[in-house]
């Protein structure tokens, strides 16, 4: 056995990339480490998070939803949907834009699935005057036309990706190809806790603000920590963000909810942790949906942001260690939860976040009075309205 290498979570993670990118990853690691220890970096980032993004985001106690879940159960939402641009993604893109500036890189590339990370990247590029190119699968561009236009309004160029499954996985391939070609001038703002080291650590560190706030808000509001913290997992950035503050609180149950798509038995799902096995994909070793020959299998989810056959390597480690329980809910359950939260609380969740809500709803009656269930509401659902209407047969 060899000793664990830096940038690994147990056996997972690593830097499985073309040699061309190694110097850039080493530079990024150095700049990230230096920034973490630099009060001036945090002062600037915190000010932007407050004045530009609108942090801290509130924790909202549900009323009618909680009543449905069980008597005396507190169901609360960490409102990342209220961030500027409508999701947690901007926590990371702001941080990485500051890192890019420190490296003197003026051109930014990104991949996007649902479009939320693309929008958050286009936003910070507009704010800092950086060139922005976003790779997006042609299929996702069709599903999320409004987000494409939002990115273009902010000056980004959205490049349709027509290879492979035309979704997030192929957009990530294409962004990596761009980076291999333009690595000396370009920073790749990866949108989740995936990819080669140091990206999973960087994205977690910038999303950790969610957990830090939520933990303090719980102590202030209830005088104790939540019983259970629930978040959806595609690549897993919002989940790592909120989980990171609670990992050492052994009494807090942590639940990651993957997309079961049309059902785990259907073969059409995105449950990398639930149904995949370890493999190397997009630069790191983690759980992966793949066939017996190591070919990556297309994922499926009604939610474009969860439609990814890989998952962050730290989640792989947390699954094996048993610290986090990973579950899955179907497209149908997520759509029902989308409708339920909208009707009962006046909050339209992103379809991604609706998976976390659906997991809580699936356990109605199993909760105990006094339980505090904290759901990370990672994004708002405005982007999904047209899609939901199409799926439910409503005419717009």
């Amino acid at each position: 056995m060899t000793a664990p290498t830096a940038g690994r979570f147990g056996p997972y993670g690593g830097r499985y990339v073309p040699e061309t990118l190694m110097a850039a990853l080493e530079e990024l690691d150095r700049v990230h480490q230096a920034a973490l220890g630099d009060p001036a970096f945090w002062a600037e980032l915190d000010a932007l998070l407050k004045d530009y993004v609108g942090r801290p985001t509130p924790v909202t106690e549900t009323v009618r939803l909680a009543a449905q879940v069980g008597p005396g159960v507190i169901v609360a939402l960490k409102r990342e949907d209220l961030n500027h641009t409508g999701a947690h993604k901007i926590n990371n893109t702001l941080g990485q834009a500051l890192l890019a500036r420190r490296m003197g890189k003026r051109r930014i590339i990104a991949e996007t699935g649902a479009g939320q990370h693309g929008v958050a990247t286009a936003t910070v590029c507009a704010r800092f005057g950086l060139e922005c190119v976003v790779y997006m699968g042609e299929e996702d561009m069709r599903r999320q036309r409004l987000n494409v236009y939002r990115m273009e309004l902010m000056g980004a160029r959205v490049v349709p990706v027509t290879s492979g499954t035309r979704t997030l996985k192929d957009a990530t391939n294409e962004a990596l190809r761009d980076w291999v070609t333009n690595v000396t001038t370009t920073h790749y703002i990866i949108g989740s806790v995936v990819g080669p080291d140091p990206f999973p650590r960087i994205v977690r560190d910038f999303q950790a603000v969610i957990g830090r706030e939520a933990r303090a808000q719980a102590l202030e509001r209830w005088g104790r920590l939540p019983t259970t913290v629930v978040a959806c997992v595609g690549g897993g950035s919002n989940a790592m963000g909120i989980f990171s503050a609670f990992l050492d609180d052994r009494d807090v149950a942590l639940v990651g909810v993957e997309a079961a798509g049309e059902g785990l038995g259907s073969g059409r799902h995105a449950a990398s942790l639930g149904r995949g096995r370890p493999g190397v994909f997009h630069g790191s070793l983690s759980y992966l949906l793949q066939d017996a020959d190591g070919q990556v299998q297309p994922a499926h989810s009604v939610s474009a942001g969860l439609d990814y056959p890989g998952v962050g390597p730290e989640h792989a480690f947390l699954k094996d260690s048993g610290r986090v329980l990973y579950e899955a809910v179907t497209d149908r359950q997520a759509l029902d939860a989308f409708a339920t939260l909208s009707r009962l609380e006046g909050i339209l969740p992103a379809l991604e976040s609706a998976h976390a809500v659906a997991w809580v709803l699936a356990r109605c009656g199993e909760w105990h009075a006094g339980d505090i269930v904290l759901v990370n509401l990672s994004g708002r659902g405005d982007k999904d309205v047209a899609m939901v209407a199409e799926l439910t047969g409503a005419a717009l």
Binding site: T5, Y16, A23, E26, T181, G283, G294
Partner: protein, 264 residues
């Protein structure tokens, strides 16, 4: 211990009649345009003058490859090509020159690393080149390959730092593969102006032969590269020729490239 087939081949190239000459190293995607044609193509490129052959094992997410090789590997997968199928092709082709298997890490891991190394060697392969496996990425995997009969071919990029170059050179065998420019695989118009300097850097770090690839597609480019390096790798242009004109077209191109390399 007998000499490794790759080292023996370089020695023959250095000591042949007419003095040292550079090697031509064509790349063929196993299973493209069809499994039957790619088996013929392996034999044809050797008949046309290849000194080594790189055989590509298709992977669903070839993030270091440009459109030509992406399309070829996808077509191969669509026709059911597998890791075992590629090894069977190498075995059947029974080539008189060393074969280097080129792929990504995941198909090899899924097949089983030790099983892959054993079966690839038994099929007649002499080297392994993993595009997404830089020096230091996975010391355990590296040690397992080093203990096998397959040479571990290392890629060196224009962005490779001095520290990394030294590290890659230490763990490499067979030859070093210098990526001539930033970017993915695929033919380009020109040989980069700084290629002589890049080759010089690699030579200063290692006594291993240096082969240059990425972006070389024409006889003129092959000739210019052969004047600087020990080997010239041509991939996308051959794959393109195979796709458009079948084995005959690929064989004609390799013949021209081989003449150009010998002429340098």
């Amino acid at each position: 211990m007998s000499e490794h087939p790759i080292a023996a081949r370089w020695r023959a190239l250095r000591g042949g009649a007419g003095g040292r000459r550079a090697a031509l190293i064509p790349y063929v995607t196993a299973g493209f345009p069809t499994p039957r044609v790619s088996l013929d193509a392996l034999r044809a490129v050797v008949a046309a003058g290849a000194d080594f052959v790189e055989v590509g094992v298709p992977f669903s997410d070839p993030l270091a490859d440009g459109p030509t090789i992406q399309r070829s590997t996808q077509a191969a997968l669509d026709q059911g090509m597998t890791v075992a199928g590629v090894l069977e092709q190498i075995h059947q082709a029974a080539l008189p020159v060393p074969v280097v298997v080129m792929t990504y890490v995941n198909p090899v891991l899924a097949f089983g690393l030790e099983r892959f190394l054993r079966e690839a060697a038994a099929a007649g392969a002499s080297g392994l080149l993993l595009t997404d496996f830089p020096a230091g990425a996975d010391p355990a995997l590296e040690a397992t390959v080093a203990a096998s009969p397959l040479a571990l071919i290392r890629l060196i990029a224009p962005t490779t730092t001095g520290d990394r170059l030294a590290r890659a050179a230490r763990g490499a065998s067979g030859f070093l593969y210098l990526i001539s420019r930033l970017g993915v695989t695929g033919a380009r118009d020109q040989v980069p102006a700084d290629l002589a300097e890049l080759v010089g850097r690699v030579r200063a770090a290692s006594p291993l032969p240096v082969a240059v690839g990425f972006g070389i597609g024409t006889p003129a480019q092959a000739r210019a590269t052969a004047a600087l390096a020990d080997g010239v790798v041509v991939g996308s242009a051959i794959v393109e020729a195979l796709g458009a004109g079948g084995t005959g077209a690929a064989e004609r191109l390799v013949r021209e490239l081989a003449a150009a390399v010998r002429d340098a």
